[in-house]
C-alpha cells in the first residue's frame, strides 16, 4: 500500500534517515511516507530502532544522514522546538513531564505553547480563562479531571502516562507520535488511551504514528504496519499481510529473546 493522498506531498516523509552511534547503526536508511488520516504502527523487537526513529523525526537526535520532510518541506535542520511548532507532536515512551507543576499546569503549559503567549511577562497566567478551559477539557479527555491540582510527580504511573498523552493533545499537532502509550498501564486504563487514539484518527485529517508491542492493539488501530529490525525497514503494508509475513513471524513474533537495550531513549 503506497501513499494515497490527494495532496502533492505526504504529510510526513523520511528519506534515507540514518543515525550511527559509533559503529552501531541504530536506524539504517529508513525511507517512508505517512499520509493524513491514517495510523501507521511501527513494530519491531526491542532495540530495533523504533524510538530512535521517532527521535530523528522529532529532532531530539540529529540524523547522521537522510532527511525529514513535513508537507514536502525539509525540516531536518530545525530544532526540536521549531519542529513541534510546525505540528509534530510527540508523547514519550518514558514519562516526561513537569514534575513540580500540577497536572492542570502541565497541560496548560502545552496549551499555552500552542497559543503562543509564552513571552508575556506582565499578563497573569491565571487570567487566561480560555486556556484554562481548554486544559480542563483535555484533562477530561484523558480522565484526569479529579487529579487536576496534584503535582505531576505525585501521580501513579498509569496517570502519568495519560498526562503524557494529554500534553501532546494540548498541542493540537498535525502529526501524533505515540511511543508505547499504554506501556505499564493497568488493564482498565488502557481503553481510555485507545479510545482517544481512535477519536483522533476519526478526525480524518491527522497523521498518527504508533510504536506498540501489543499485537491486539496494533490490529485494532492500525491501517498500516511498518516493521523495523536492526534499524532497517523490513516490511511495510496493511496489517494482515505484514503480521502474516515470514519476516514478522521470525523477527518479531517469534520467541526472540529481548536482550538488546540500546537505542532506547
Amino acid at each position: 500500500m503506497k501513499q494515497s493522498t490527494a495532496s502533492k506531498h505526504p504529510v510526513l516523509e523520511t528519506r534515507g534517515l540514518t543515525v550511527r552511534f559509533g559503529g552501531h547503526v541504530a536506524v539504517n536508511s529508513v525511507s517512508c511516507a505517512f499520509s493524513s488520516g491514517s495510523l501507521t504502527a511501527i513494530v519491531g523487537p526491542n532495540g530495533a530502532g523504533k524510538t530512535t526513529y521517532f527521535n530523528l523525526i522529532s529532532g531530539q537526535i540529529p540524523a547522521t544522514s537522510g532527511e525529514v520532510f513535513l508537507h514536502g518541506e525539509n525540516i531536518s535542520g530545525l530544532s526540536v522546538a521549531m519542529r513541534s511548532r510546525r505540528g509534530l507532536g510527540r508523547a514519550f515512551q518514558l514519562t516526561n513531564l513537569f514534575p513540580f507543576l500540577t497536572v492542570q499546569e502541565n497541560v496548560r503549559i502545552a496549551v499555552q505553547a500552542r497559543a503562543g503567549i509564552g513571552a508575556d511577562i506582565i499578563g497573569m497566567w491565571n487570567k487566561h480563562v480560555e486556556l484554562i478551559d481548554k486544559a480542563n477539557m483535555i484533562l477530561e479527555q484523558v480522565a484526569l479531571t479529579s487529579q487536576a491540582y496534584t503535582q505531576a510527580r505525585a501521580l501513579p504511573h498509569g496517570d502519568q502516562r495519560k498526562l503524557e498523552v494529554g500534553l501532546m493533545l494540548a498541542l493540537e499537532p498535525e502529526v501524533f507520535m505515540f511511543d508505547e502509550p499504554t506501556a505499564g498501564m493497568s488493564v482498565d486504563e488502557v481503553p481510555v488511551i485507545l479510545d482517544l487514539i481512535k477519536k483522533i484518527k476519526d478526525q480524518g485529517n491527522r497523521t498518527l504514528l504508533l510504536v506498540e508491542h501489543k499485537m491486539d492493539v496494533v490490529r485494532e488501530l492500525a491501517d498500516r504496519i511498518i516493521v523495523l529490525h536492526n534499524g532497517c525497514l523490513v516490511a511495510d503494508g496493511d496489517p494482515e499481510t505484514v503480521i502474516a509475513s515470514d519476516i514478522v513471524q521470525e523477527a518479531y513474533l517469534g520467541a526472540a529473546p529481548d536482550k538488546s537495550k540500546e537505542a532506547k531513549k
Binding site: Q60, R90, N96, F98, A113, A119, I121, M124, L167
Partner: protein, 364 residues
C-alpha cells in the same frame, strides 16, 4: 486589589502572611527607630530585591549564576561614577537627578549586554558549566573594578554626593522625640522611602513575572527542559530572557544601594561574600517562592546586624565561664550563623516559606 498587586500569588499560610505583614510594617516604620535601624532597613529592602531576582534565576529557571552580585555592582558603579564632581573624569557629571537617571540607564544597558553575552555563550551548556562561567566572568569584573583605581577608585571605592533633597544635610521638618529616640527628618529619611518604594514595586514586579505565562514557561524549563523544547518552547531564548531580567533587577537594586550609602566600592556590592549571602538567603527563605526572599533577607541581615550585639549582652552574663564565654564572644558570630544555617537547611529543605506552606496544607 491586594490580590491583583500580589499577582494572585498569596502567601497561602496564615503564619507566613503574619510574618510578611510584620516585616512590611517594620520596614515601613524603620526610619522612626534611628539611624542604625534605617541603615539596616534600607539594606533589607535592597537585598529583598536582589534575592528575589536571584530566586527568579535559581528557583524559577534553574540557572545558578554567580554573576548576580556583579550586576548589583554595575548598578552601584553606574550611579556612583557619574555622580562624582565633574572635572575629575570626562564621564563625571556631578551630583544631580540627571546624573542618577543617566547612571541607571547606562548601568542597565551595560548589564543587559553582559547578561546577553554570557547567555549567548553559555546557556546551552549544563548548569554546572554555566555556574563556572558566571563565576569567572564575575571574578574578572571584580578584579577589574579593584585594579582600575583611576576609574573606580579601586579598593577604596567612590564617595559621592546625592541631590540635596536626598542628602542627610537637608532637613525638611523639625526633629521630634519618639520613644526616647530623636527622629530627624533629613534627606536620608526621604532616600529611605525612595528605596522602600522602588523595592516594593520591583518586588511586586518579580512576583508578577513568576506568575505570568512567561514565568510558568521558566518553571517548565526548570522542571524538564527536554520536554519544554519538545512542546515548542525555545529553551535558550527563555533562559536568556530570564537572566537578562534578573540582571536588570539586580542592577536597579545596586543603583539604590549606592544612592543610599552615597558610596560604592568593590566589597560593598561585588564581594564573593555577598554572593554567598544571597545564596543562603534564597535557600533559607525557600527557593521558587519569591516571598522566601523577604524572609531570607530579613532574617540573615537582622542576624548580621544584631547577632553581635545580642552576643555581647549574653557574653557579659557568662563571662566567668571560660569555654562558653569564648564560644559566645561577639567575634564568633559567624560560627553561630553557620550553625543556624545548617539547622534551617536540615529542617526545612524547602526553606521557611516552603515549610510554612506545607504546614498550612497539612503536609508534614
Amino acid at each position: 486589589m491586594l490580590n491583583k498587586l500580589l499577582s494572585w500569588d498569596l502567601p497561602r499560610s496564615k503564619v507566613l502572611a503574619a510574618i510578611l505583614l510584620v516585616i512590611f510594617l517594620g520596614l515601613l516604620l524603620t526610619p522612626l527607630a534611628g539611624d542604625k535601624a534605617m541603615g539596616a532597613g534600607a539594606k533589607i529592602c535592597i537585598f529583598i530585591i536582589l534575592v528575589a531576582s536571584f530566586d527568579l534565576l535559581l528557583g524559577y529557571t534553574g540557572i545558578l549564576s554567580f554573576a548576580h552580585t556583579m550586576f548589583f555592582g554595575i548598578g552601584a558603579y553606574g550611579v556612583a561614577m557619574i555622580s562624582v564632581e565633574p572635572g575629575e573624569h570626562w564621564w563625571a557629571l556631578g551630583p544631580g537627578w540627571g546624573s542618577i537617571f543617566l547612571g541607571i540607564i547606562v548601568a542597565v544597558v551595560l548589564s543587559t549586554l553582559i547578561a546577553l553575552f554570557i547567555s549567548a555563550f553559555s546557556l546551552r551548556v549544563r548548569t554546572m558549566y554555566f555556574a563556572m562561567i558566571t563565576l569567572s566572568v564575575s571574578a574578572a569584573v571584580q578584579t577589574l573594578a579593584m585594579r582600575s583605581t583611576e576609574i573606580t577608585g579601586g579598593e577604596d571605592g567612590i564617595n559621592f554626593t546625592v541631590p540635596d533633597l536626598l542628602s542627610p544635610l537637608y532637613t525638611f521638618a523639625d526633629s521630634i522625640e519618639l520613644f526616647g529616640q530623636k527622629v530627624e527628618f533629613t534627606g536620608a529619611f526621604i532616600m529611605y522611602y525612595v528605596v522602600f518604594i522602588v523595592a516594593l514595586v520591583l518586588f511586586l514586579f518579580v512576583l508578577r513575572i513568576v506568575n505570568s505565562p512567561f514565568g510558568r514557561v521558566l518553571q517548565a524549563i526548570r522542571d524538564n527542559e527536554f520536554r519544554a523544547a519538545a512542546i515548542g518552547y525555545r529553551v535558550v531564548l527563555y533562559r536568556a530572557a530570564s537572566s537578562v531580567l534578573g540582571a536588570i533587577i539586580a542592577t536597579l537594586a545596586g543603583c539604590m544601594y549606592a544612592l543610599f550609602l552615597r558610596y560604592q566600592g568593590p566589597e560593598a556590592t561585588m564581594g564573593f561574600g555577598i554572593m554567598m549571602d544571597i545564596l543562603f538567603m534564597v535557600v533559607i527563605g525557600g527557593m521558587a517562592t519569591i516571598y522566601g526572599a523577604v524572609i531570607g533577607a530579613t532574617l540573615m541581615l537582622i542576624a548580621q546586624n544584631y547577632l553581635q550585639d545580642l552576643m555581647k549582652i549574653v557574653q557579659s552574663d557568662v563571662s566567668g565561664i571560660p569555654f562558653v564565654s569564648g564560644l559566645l564572644h561577639p567575634d564568633r558570630w559567624l560560627l553561630w550563623m553557620g550553625i543556624l544555617f545548617i539547622i534551617v537547611v536540615y529542617n526545612f529543605p524547602w526553606g521557611i516559606v516552603g515549610k510554612l506552606r506545607m504546614r498550612a496544607l497539612g503536609i508534614e
